[in-house]
């Protein structure tokens, strides 16, 4: 039986159609990442699955049940940090245990186990306001790990975390896979989605491609990508680099640009010369394997996340 089955799901706000007939199937124990830019409909889809929003049309089944009847099977972690900062980590979890109807004794036992699992036993009695962003996220994920929960739905869980906290958090998700929990990860970060067994790319309310991460890259036809870090970024630099890129499109990143060439080896020296000619200093040029963000760019000609 599928853990999650979504068929022809639509959502409209007035004339604005946010979801345009989404089909999605996730098998039990699968780790599925839904990746798309802001406004693509991924959070709307997640919130409909967890009964926070109503669909305009279509069907959702969670282990064969309607979402309203399957609430006890879902552990949902919204984008915002919902834990109470003035309660301790343990008090926050005890609150959720109480909401789920556990007796005080049973709640104590489960909460201590959960704190141990997420590595917060030693900080359990500290107020959450004293936690780092990563600790707070781990605490919040524990609210979705009470027994009986079979599907974990994580909406942009690593946004705002520093690289170390992000890796720790993703490590925790990998650990959970051993317990056969089904995971639906909503993200706009390609590196996070790479960890999934299957990735769906969503754009303008539709899933435009779906496969294993390597399968998506292969199907995109992308080979190596030139990653250029520059001291400055400008329209002029982007325009110059676009001459070397397929379809004359370059992906702007936080620190420079990504260029998609057919012949990487031949292009690099020419790119260096051209950058010099326009007075732009490249601090780093390297070739990389394409990322899922590159695949999304190739398919839609859109950047998946805004650059800073």
């Amino acid at each position: 039986m599928d853990a999650l089955n979504v068929e022809k799901l639509t959502k409209k706000y007035g004339d604005n159609e946010v979801l345009k007939g989404v089909d999605l199937k996730i098998a039990e124990g699968e780790f599925y990442a839904l990746m798309g830019p802001n406004g693509s409909g991924k959070t709307t889809l997640a919130s409909i699955i967890v009964s926070v929003r109503s669909p305009s049309g279509g069907k959702i089944e969670i282990y064969g049940k309607k979402p309203e009847d399957a609430k006890g099977l879902i552990g949902y972690i919204p984008q915002e940090s919902f834990s109470s900062p003035i309660l301790t980590g343990k008090e926050n979890l005890m609150y959720f245990a109480g909401l789920l109807g556990y007796s005080k004794k049973a709640a104590e036992k489960i909460v201590n186990e959960l704190l141990n699992k997420i590595g917060l036993s030693e900080d359990a009695n500290k107020r959450v306001s004293n936690y780092s962003g990563g600790m707070r996220k781990r605490l919040e994920i524990a609210t979705a790990l009470f027994p009986d929960i079979k599907i974990l739905i994580l909406d942009e869980p690593t946004t705002g975390l520093d690289p170390s906290a992000r890796r720790k958090f993703l490590g925790l998700i990998q650990e959970l896979r051993k317990e056969k929990i089904t995971v639906l990860l909503i993200t706009h970060i390609g590196a996070d989605a790479e960890l999934a067994s299957r990735v769906g790319l969503i754009d303008e309310g539709k899933i435009i491609a779906e496969d294993e991460p390597e399968g998506l890259k292969k199907a995109s036809g992308l080979k190596d990508v030139i990653n250029i870090e520059t001291a400055t970024k400008s329209e002029k630099v982007a325009k110059m680099l676009s001459k070397f890129s397929e379809k004359k499109k370059v992906l702007e990143t936080d620190v420079g640009y990504r260029v998609y060439c057919k012949d990487v080896e031949e292009s690099i020296p020419e790119i260096v010369r051209s950058l010099d000619a326009i007075g732009c200093k490249a601090t780093k040029i390297e070739t990389e394997k394409p990322s899922l963000e590159d695949v999304f760019f190739k398919l839609t000609e859109k950047m998946i996340r805004e650059v800073s």
Binding site: S47, S51, K71, P78, S84
Partner: protein, 257 residues
């Protein structure tokens, strides 16, 4: 533990650990009890000074209940919505009514604590009361009406004002202004005619006058708020405010988009 106990425990801990809540609900009324008990009684004859202080303690206890219901409750609701907790709760197998009952019980427990502390400080400042056991019970009943009406206004604020600070400041503003112009803070006889009519209509000041009448004496209430029609009006409007707040909270805060 059930949902009600869990929500009650969480909410009351949040009330007791936030300095702004403690200030507006407990420290501010106590400050006014201290100021009022010593500065506002210079021209009061010695034989009635302790009852004047009693009336001040009652007024400020009512004010404590007003800020608890009108500012703390909406602040708590807005905070839970702003940080995504309400979305999280909507995704869980939770009965919204139990969440609501837990919040209201926490509010009543915290309000009782605030009122007791304010009254004890008043007593320490020399406030005295004159009441019968039945009068005391009736007074507690009117305090409950103050809490319910304030909670109703608070739920309306918490439902429609989305931001935490906006909700808290709106609640504090409404509590301070209405207390000042309705006879809770200003003695009823000193109010102009129009505001005296408002004081009789506004269920919180009407309940406040009833408590003063029952626990301190008729002279301090300024009028008889215990006529059958006035009591009926106060009870009905208080319950309507509470019901209105409840309907707004359950329909809009827990509504699926």
């Amino acid at each position: 533990m059930g949902q009600i106990t869990a929500t009650l425990g969480k909410t009351i801990k949040e009330f007791l650990r936030q300095k702004t809540i403690l200030f507006w609900t407990i420290a501010w009324p106590i400050l006014w009890v201290l100021i009022g008990s010593f500065s506002f009684v210079e021209n009061v004859p010695n034989e009635v000074i302790s009852y004047t202080r009693g009336a001040i303690a009652v007024s400020m206890s009512v004010f404590a209940l007003m800020t608890a219901g009108m500012a703390n409750l909406p602040g708590n609701i807005a905070q839970d919505r702003e940080r995504g907790l309400l979305s999280k709760l909507m995704s869980m197998p939770i009965n919204p009514w139990r969440d609501f009952v837990g919040r209201i019980l926490a509010l009543l427990a915290f309000s009782s604590l605030a009122a007791i502390l304010v009254t004890l400080v008043g007593y320490g400042c020399g406030a005295r009361f004159s009441y019968s056991p039945i009068g005391l019970l009736q007074g507690i009943g009117f305090l409950l009406l103050v809490s319910l009406a304030s909670a109703g206004i608070g739920m309306l604020i918490g439902t429609f004002i989305k931001h935490v600070h906006g909700a808290i400041m709106s609640g504090v503003g409404i509590a301070v202004v209405t207390a000042a112009i309705s006879g809770v803070m200003t003695p009823y006889p000193y109010l102009p005619w129009l505001l005296q009519q408002f004081a009789r209509t506004y269920p919180i000041s009407s309940s406040s006058s009833s408590i003063t009448f029952l626990l301190v004496g008729e002279d301090y209430a300024g009028y008889n708020p215990l006529s059958a029609s006035q009591i009926t009006f106060t009870v009905v409007i208080s319950l309507l405010l509470f019901a209105g707040g409840l309907v707004a909270y359950s329909r809009f805060c827990w509504k699926k988009e």
